[in-house]
């Protein structure tokens, strides 16, 4: 059972991540979004906060192991069961660069992607679906990492 406080915390966290990532619906460009991938801290993100608040939704799912033995290779997936998804994002909260991947979806592909990411430490992983109507829906999963993947 999630308390209201936790809910607000998560919602705020995703809003901050998104805003910092410059990916709230106003930004739509084809080229690699440098500022999106450079967002490193919450403070940086909150500064640019604006746009619709992300809401947790059952229509979005994030998959991954509960415990990852090797943080260098963590299999994660993001998927959305609703229609009208424009972009799917994968975010690892405690990585130096929170945004891992952005998938721009079209009608000819399922809104479902699996990949592998690096995780520096145990952290929440977010899957965010940006909808055509400007809403941002997300799902969160905590993945515990036994051995970090970003060290030398």
């Amino acid at each position: 059972m999630q308390t209201r406080r936790e809910m607000l915390h998560h919602s705020g966290a995703v809003a901050a991540l998104l805003a910092g990532a410059g990916l709230l619906p106003t930004a739509a460009q084809a080229a690699w979004n440098k500022s999106a991938f450079e967002a490193k801290t919450m403070a940086e993100c909150v500064k640019a906060l604006g746009g619709g608040a992300p809401a947790e939704s059952k229509d979005v799912s994030v998959t991954g192991p509960d415990i990852a033995e090797n943080g260098a290779v963590v299999p994660v997936g993001c998927a959305s069961s609703t229609t009208g998804v424009k972009r799917l994002l994968l975010l690892v909260e405690k990585n130096p660069s929170v945004l891992a991947a952005v998938f721009d979806v079209t009608d000819s592909v399922d809104a479902s992607f699996n990949t592998r990411v690096k995780m520096g430490q145990s952290s929440n992983v977010y899957a965010v679906a940006l909808m055509n109507d400007g809403r941002a829906l997300y799902a969160v999963k905590e993945i515990k990492v036994t051995l970090g993947g970003c060290g030398g």
């Binding site: 991947a101 592909v109 992607f113 990411v117 995780m119």
Partner: protein, 103 residues
Amino acid sequence: MADPMRIRAQVAGDKATVRVLMSHEMETGLRRDGAGAVIPAWFIQEVSAAHNGKSVFNAQWGPSVAKNPFMQFNVKGAKAGDKITVVWKDNKGDSRTDEATVS
């Protein structure tokens, strides 16, 4: 030129499941070598896929994606014999295009 990607595309019902394994270092730019010098970032930034020449998605990746990246997606309406093309481009301007036939 980087090593070729390994692409497998298999029909599953009315869509095709495509699995791609790319060969890339995916350096974050945060690690240091033995002498303490920063190893420069080197990672895939843009990935896109096409089904019989028609683009099905574009992706942007950050350095958080694991070394030798794996990616799986489903292409709607793909049949046996169709061509799936995957392209990646890294931050050094290197790119690689590979094609596979749906089976």
